[in-house]
Symmetry: C2
Subunit: 433 residues, 2 copies
């Protein structure tokens, strides 16, 4: 192979992921050169605090990210996270024809249209495999491998922190607050856990997955989002009693309305799934995503969803792809948003509920409760009633109905004099409806 | 988007997969055009028997595959299978600068070097996602997503027929012959099941996976291959007794010798795996493949491994990629065989054995058997001895040793006077060694 001019790489950010990117570029230099067709040369590393101890060459560090991007680099790799200054830096790079590799889910979920537009204007590449599900090759399969198929559903566990907490609550019976404290102590949750526990992180990832799966622009604001802070030990116990467990799921669906109009429904919320479901066994920091397509059927992708080395693997994989495109004058896939399907509001999205009630133990209770379901056109799939000394527990699992109808049903039932307490309300996923 | 000249596609073969390819190209024409940037136009379909009933446009059928390839087509899609005439037709297409999409595992496993050379000579693309694990996006992740990482191991179930038979033997306790008969009756096995049950199909796929994972040319002849015909009901029962099940596995490993020299070991054989292992639950026609890489860690890919529609999904996904490259003057990944690692013979490959013996029930038997293991430097991980009226059963699981040492050990033990019968010998995978 003739020796080629090196591909010059600017690295923006040097935390856990950035450090691992530098390590892979160094340790695997000969392999990466052979795979790319040209050496990958690190031109500089932009950081905020240059004096912090880092396992990277000190002479590459700079605090001037803007100047680094504007210098004679071919590719910009961004692992800073957050919207600014990443957005401005990457738009500048793309407009100048420099390809971009980013792990920034928040940025992609908010501003992908703008970023793709800048990339298309100059012919630069935009790759972001590391933004969702860490090391698991998931975006490339959606963008490329399944480009000949019609994807109908993407559902998975895409946030390790909430998965660690819910798994912990399930195995110990402890409360949410106790388990969050434990997760923080062990480093599974950040000091401010909001982005994870309130579902913002998962919602960003759901927006990215839905955009790619349905060829439609979906932003984080389009995603119905519920976190796990309201999941109680009672919810977990109720799930366990039914042979189910609770997971925070990101769900992207193609929904056809009664008028035949296709739309996409994208949501993040805790849900009960059967313990026999493959997602039920996914523990701690692992991620797993199911994809369903018309011709391909059901597929699952599983692996480490976060962490320095796994995320860096995805970043450097993208970097090799971008560099190969530069060597061979190729071009990666562009934005594909031609379908432009409308986003379906959560109220009109079909879901299923599990409802656990404390009721007076006397004749006629079930018929009063059932009447409320019938009023709202919600069909009941299963009922279990257990008497105790003074009262009874009534557990109901519904068939699919719109989320609005289910919510109204629960509100009305909560107001019935025979209902002492609504113990647990949780959506149900992963089984035949 | 400006209207582009159609991409003209020649389809070679029109069996189950070919028919589904035509259906996808027809049903999804508008979507595929939007995703590709140009219409995909079927120029002709080469078949041997044009009068057979098929659900495809009759005016596209031709018996002259050579003329179809030589006509003004841009891409050749091959779903005939087998070596010839596919090899000659595809070499002709690639040399003429026409990109190729193929589902032909046997051809890729034997002649990929020649095919890639032809592709590189003319700048054409060669894609073959459908050749391994049907609809599961697996080759693109290996070729592209993990290009920045160091893959150490690929292990999986890649043949649906043998998986159906072994699952059946496990759940019914029936013999291999009975279960094969059932599989044939249900259409899971072909009239001549040799390619599947003797492991040829899995060996071709293992060769392809190893080539991509280790950047080394591996052909089917380099793969150690054992089929499932010798798996007995006693083997299955022995596995069950140990909380294990038997699967036909394709295993591709990077092995570092005592001299520090890296090599690749590629093998297909039945093996016991723990029932708790994710591969144990993969049933019937599903495929699942584990990939381990230094930075990314462990990943799993799961889905339908065969069948018309799933395979067609992979073929059309590749077709969109190839067509996009034509529209945007891009280029797909080339052969990457720079590492050129030596292939390690099976005898020198580390494996673990499970051995079940019928022995005389008297003192000193275990010490005689254990002495043979010690002689061959094979370390024992676990022993279970159960006495019966006249004799005893002795079950031994070893630590990792070279396959040659393990085979010699078993041979010698079989000749000990205190050993009445070697009931079952099976390799063990999927647990800590």
């Amino acid at each position: 192979m003739p020796s080629r001019k090196p591909i010059r790489v600017a690295l923006l950010g040097c935390g856990t992921v950035g450090t691992e990117v530098v390590r892979l570029l160094t340790d695997q230099a000969a392999d990466l050169t052979a795979r790319t067709g040209a050496p990958l040369e690190l031109a500089g590393i932009a950081v905020r605090k240059p004096n912090k101890h880092r396992e990277v060459p000190a002479d590459l560090l700079t605090t001037d990210a803007e100047a680094l991007v504007a210098s004679d680099v071919d590719v910009v790799v961004e692992v800073i996270g957050g919207i600014e200054p990443s957005r401005t830096l990457l738009l500048g790079a793309l407009r100048a024809g420099k390809s971009v590799v980013t792990a920034n889910k928040a940025l992609l979920a908010e501003h992908s249209a703008e970023l793709f537009e800048a990339a298309d204007g100059s012919g630069a590449d935009l790759y972001f495999e590391a933004a969702v599900a860490g090391a698991i090759p998931l975006l490339r399969p959606l963008r490329e491998s399944l480009a000949g198929d019609r994807i109908t559903r993407v559902m998975g566990i895409v946030n390790g922190t909430t998965n660690f907490i819910l798994s912990g609550m399930d195995s110990t019976g402890a409360s949410y607050a106790e388990t969050l404290e434990e997760a923080t102590r062990l480093g599974y949750a950040e000091a401010d856990p909001t982005a994870d526990v309130d579902g913002f992180d998962a919602a960003s990832k759901a927006a990215i997955l839905a955009s790619l799966a349905f060829h439609t622009r979906v932003t984080a604001a389009d995603v119905h989002r519920e976190g796990i802070a309201a999941v109680s030990a009672a919810d977990i116990a109720a799930a366990r009693g039914l042979g189910r467990t609770v997971k925070l799921l990101a769900i992207c669906e193609r929904v056809t309305g009664e008028d035949g109009q296709e739309s996409v429904a994208v949501r993040v919320h805790p849900a009960m799934i059967p313990r026999s479901h493959p997602l039920a066994g996914v523990s701690a920091a692992f991620n797993a995503v199911f994809v369903e397509a018309d011709a391909a059927g059901e597929m699952m992708f599983y692996g480490q969803g976060a962490g320095g080395a796994p995320t860096a693997s995805a970043v450097v994989g993208d970097l090799v792809a971008v560099a190969r495109n530069l060597v061979h004058s190729g071009r990666g896939p562009r934005e594909s948003a031609y379908a432009a399907l409308p986003v379906r509001p959560m109220g009109q999205t079909p879901t299923r509920y599990h409802i656990s009630l404390d009721v007076a133990d006397r004749a006629g209770v079930l018929s009063q409760v059932a009447a409320v379901f019938a009023e709202h056109d919600v069909s009941i799939a299963a009922v279990r009633q257990e008497g105790r000394v003074d009262d009874a527990s009534l557990v109901i699992v519904t068939h699919a109905a719109t989320d609005a109808a289910l919510r109204s049903t629960v509100d009305k039932i909560g107001g019935l004099p025979v209902v002492r307490e609504v113990v647990s309300v949780m959506r149900v996923e992963g089984e035949e409806s």
